[in-house]
Structure formats: structure tokens, C-alpha cells
Subunit: 324 residues, 2 copies
């Protein structure tokens, strides 16, 4: 297996990202704190370039492509946030990008990916395999496949979000008790865990997933990668992966204290709370960690809890419905 | 007249605010830039503590209350954002706050002000004078009246938003051509102008107001404070002041290049654009400067334009309607 990234890789990624990525704020609401009886700090990654943390990993991974391969295409498959991250990073670095997206992906994600200059190839999630389409493209064109999470360069890029959390906590002299992170394939939480545990080894880190898509939570319990049986549905389109990545789980099984799952209704409530208390727009998958806190999955009273809100690419119609 | 604040007052305010205020990000959307043909950077003050820039001025002003008056009450009148700023600042500094609010203010602003620990006195905007109610309270209790904008301590606090803009532009080696700021009584734009012109004397600064409430734009044209005739309506509840402040206009007439006015429909479009491109929640009054840019009031092609988005305290029902 490829070697997982370490803290030095994440620091190098931070140096690469500094000129282009947003240093996202850690927001706090005195009113929400008062109602919960503890401090909750929200890392607003929806404010990241392209509306989600995915730009960090994509830009770092693309920066690592050797010079002699730079003229070639990059290919990625994604339901939308990784797509936009790769498209934006490719545009900055002068690379051609082709993104393989399910035809059912939110309209805003498909149109933004195209507007960022990438070619979008749509596929039918029920009858076609994105891996097969991607592999065929790679073989035919010699393109570099940019995986959404199971790649050390991608994980190191996502880890820069964790470095910022640590910096900001140090600046405010805060010591967090626990950290909750949305989890699909596990790239974001893997990168953040390495960065946070380097500075704060006692901070408990938990994954949060949609109900019936809690493959990481289940895998943490059994100690091996568990696969979700098909047939379930969730509004959290960004993080409905069937099983943990190989590299990400190798990291996460060592760093994570456990995992939670939240229902669609709990997620919608968290999106409303983010609107009300933090004035940020969250998509369903970006709101699961906040949902776990608001649903009482974890003790927050008299504690300091960090919540990563990982993305905000939601269609206006769903958002308006969630506020109604 | 009281002396206007200078850059030293603003720097001192920044030192006071550092432990409690949010250093808000300057956000940029490559897609919006591409569609406008220039760079537009948005200062997201809706992410400030209490959901608007008003916390900056309120906290700085309350910090300046002499020790021997600290035991007393503070009183403010406000449609809502200054109310929440004063309430939050008073709670941090251990002062009792009474806020005089119109009964027609958005529900979220009234309930948040109460939740922050302030007493709210509602008045009928058609039949009662908030100044009279405030003066009566001050005379009866010896409370300190915290004006919403026409106060050097408040203006210096708002100016810290300008210092952050300058810092961030320097960090990215960007030189702005112009800066647009929402304007009610003129406290925010006055403070920002002093801070920005200290470092960037060539940057053109423009006020943006709701149509029919463009008292600052009219006053800039005539050179003296013009008063708006009553009878108009706007969705921009936060900035429908009838005339510029005395101190604020003294500053603004020296610093501002002019002023624009925008319609309710243009404001709603800007709120949608902020949702889509920046993932931030804006209230109508907070979106007027972005509205002026999107409506083509100012040339942005091949320019670098800074837009202050000053608040996000909007009721969910209005926001859902604006997205529909």
C-alpha cells in the first residue's frame, strides 16, 4: 500500500496552498453556546474556494504531478465537490480536466464544474461504473487519475484544514476536548486527524456519516473495512461512499475515537441552525457533524467541541425547503 | 462637534477587539469574477459575532466607558444589528443593556437581542420617538447612551473592518481600484475610509444605500447633510436612516468619491448571488454594495473591486422567498 502522509507532507501542502486557498474562519455563536451549555466552534469550510474543502486536496495533488506529465489531462470522478476542486485546481495550474459525474448530481455542482473549465462526462449511477469510465479514459489518453480520497497527496491537502484549526485554537488559548468531522471516503478526517493529533494528541476525533452510510463507524468497531449494502438513500450526496478508503482507513483506525450517524431530518435541522447562528450556507453532507452535536450524539456541556462544516454546494430549491 | 477618530484610534480599537471579534475573510469566486470580467472580493462581515459589523463599534465604545461609570446601564436604540452588537458587548463587559427597538424589527433580531441578555423596549415607529424614550431612560437612570453611528468610539470600532481589508490585500499583493460599502448613518463607511485611505490613498470609496434612502449620496452631491422625505419603503431595514450623522458626514464628505442607490429587486438578486457564489447568508441591508456591483453601477471589468457585505440577520421566511 502507498505510504500515508505525515505532518511534514501536510505542512508542505499548506505552503503550496497559501496563495490560493481561503484560510477559513472558526466561528462561534454565544447564543448556540448558551443553549448547549458548552463551547462549539465551527470550521466554515463551505467558504473555501469552490464551496468545499475539496479544493485543498485537489490542488495539492495536482501540484505534485511531475513536470513531464504536466501537459496531460487529469481525470476525476465525483458527485460534485471533488469535481469542482479538481476543475478549479486544474484551471490554476494550466491542466485540462475531465470529470465523470453521476447524472443525478445536484445541478449547481455540474454547472459549476463546467463553468470552471472542465469537461463533464455524465453517467447513469444505476447501470454504469464510474471506475470503468475513468480507467478507460486513463488508458486511452494517458491522463492522471485524481482519486477523491484514497491518495496521500489528497489526504495531505485536506490536512491543511486541521493545521488551521490548531493555529486558531492556539491563538485563542483554547484546548478542545473533541473534534467532529463529516466523513465519506475518509480523506478529510484522515488529514485533519494527523494535523490535530500532532499538536493536540488528547483531542478525541469522531467521524460523522449519514444514517445507513456509516461504513467508517462500522469499520472502526470491527477493525476492518466494512462495506455498506446497497439500497439506501440519503440527502447527503457528497458523502454516501460504500466503504472506507484503504489508505484513509489505515490512518483513521489509528486516530479516531469512534463514529456517529445522523438522519436526514437531523441534517436539515443543522443546516437551519447554521443559517441562523453562523450565517453560512451548508449542504447536507457538509452539515452532518453539526447535526451530530445538535442531536446530542456527543457530550458538549462544559466542553470545547470543534465541528467541521465541510461544504455549501446546495441547490437553492432544497435550501429554501429546509428553511420553510 | 466631537473630534472624529483617526487611524491611531482605529488601531487601538483593533487591539481591544482582537480577543473577541472575528477576523472575517475576504472571499472571492472565480466564477463570479469570470462572469464580470474583473476581480471582486467580498468582506464577509455577516460572519462577525452577532451576525453584523455592529459588534466592532459597540464593543469598542463600551470599552471606552470610564471605570467609575461601569456599574451603570447602557442604552441603545436600533432596528436590530446595533442592538445585538451592544447586547453582546455589554454581556462580555459585565454591563446591563436596555435596547429600544421598533416593534416592526425582524423577529430574529428582537429574539437574539433578548437572548444575549439585554432588556428590549419596543416602540411604535409611527407614533413614538426612539430618541425621546432613550433620553428619558438616560435621565432617569444615568445610563450611557450608545449611539448607533454618530460617535467617535463607534466609528473607530467599525474602522477595524477596514484595517483587516488592508492587511489582507497587502498579504495577497492586491491593489484595489475601488471599495463599496453599505451605508445607513455612515459609521461603517467612515471608519473603513479612514483605515483604507491611510494605507491606500488612491482607492475610491463609494457608499451604497437603498433607493429613496440615499441621503448620503445626495448629501455628497450638495456638500451638506440632506434629509430624506418620509413615506418610502425598503426591505433594507438595517440602513434606512433619514440623514447622515454629523460626525460621520464630516468624515465621509472628505473621503467618499460618491454614492449609489439600489432597488429591492437588485438587493434580492445580490442575496441570491451571495448564497450561490460565496455560501454566506446576507440580509437585505448587508447586500446593497454587492447589489450595486451586480447591477452594473460601477465599472468592474479589469478592475479590483472590494465589496463589504455588512450583515446576515435575516428571517428564514424572507430568505426562502428570495431563493425561490
Amino acid at each position: 500500500m502507498t505510504q500515508p502522509p505525515d505532518i511534514a507532507d501536510i505542512r508542505q501542502a499548506a505552503d503550496r496552498l497559501r496563495p490560493t486557498a481561503v484560510y477559513t474562519p472558526l466561528l462561534e455563536s454565544p447564543l448556540l453556546n448558551a443553549s448547549l451549555g458548552g463551547r462549539v466552534l465551527v470550521k466554515a469550510e463551505c467558504l473555501q474556494r469552490t464551496g468545499s474543502f475539496k479544493f485543498r486536496g485537489a490542488y495539492n495533488r495536482l501540484s505534485l504531478i511531475p513536470g513531464e506529465e504536466r501537459g496531460r489531462e487529469v481525470v476525476a470522478y465525483s458527485s460534485g465537490n471533488h469535481a469542482q476542486g479538481v476543475a478549479a485546481a486544474a484551471a490554476i495550474l494550466g491542466l485540462e480536466a475531465t470529470i465523470i459525474m453521476p447524472s443525478t448530481a445536484p445541478a449547481v455542482k455540474k454547472s459549476n464544474t463546467r463553468a470552471l473549465g472542465a469537461e463533464v462526462v455524465e453517467y447513469d449511477i444505476a447501470t454504469q461504473s464510474r471506475e470503468a469510465i475513468g480507467n478507460e479514459l486513463v488508458e486511452r489518453t494517458g491522463a492522471t487519475l485524481v482519486k477523491p480520497y484514497d491518495d496521500p497527496g489528497v489526504i495531505a491537502g485536506q490536512g491543511t484544514c486541521g493545521l488551521e484549526i490548531v493555529d486558531e485554537l492556539c491563538r485563542r488559548s483554547l484546548h478542545p476536548d473533541r473534534l467532529l468531522v463529516p466523513c465519506g471516503g475518509g480523506g478529510l478526517i484522515a488529514g485533519i486527524s494527523i494535523a490535530v493529533h500532532d499538536a493536540l494528541p488528547d483531542c478525541e476525533v469522531f467521524s460523522v456519516e449519514p444514517a445507513n452510510f456509516d461504513d467508517t463507524a462500522r469499520s472502526l468497531r470491527t477493525g476492518r473495512r466494512e462495506r455498506i449494502e446497497p439500497g439506501h438513500h440519503s440527502i447527503c450526496d457528497a458523502i454516501i461512499t460504500p466503504e472506507p478508503g484503504e489508505i484513509t482507513f489505515e490512518i483513521n483506525r489509528r486516530h479516531l475515537a469512534g463514529g456517529f450517524a445522523v438522519s436526514d431530518e437531523e441534517v436539515l435541522r443543522a443546516m437551519r441552525a447554521a443559517f441562523q447562528h453562523f450565517k453560512i450556507v451548508l449542504e447536507p453532507g457538509g452539515a452532518v457533524a453539526l447535526a451530530a452535536v445538535l442531536a446530542g450524539r456527543v457530550e458538549v456541556e462544559n466542553q470545547c467541541t470543534i465541528v467541521v462544516c465541510s461544504g455549501g454546494n446546495v441547490d437553492a430549491s432544497l435550501y429554501a425547503r429546509c428553511l420553510a
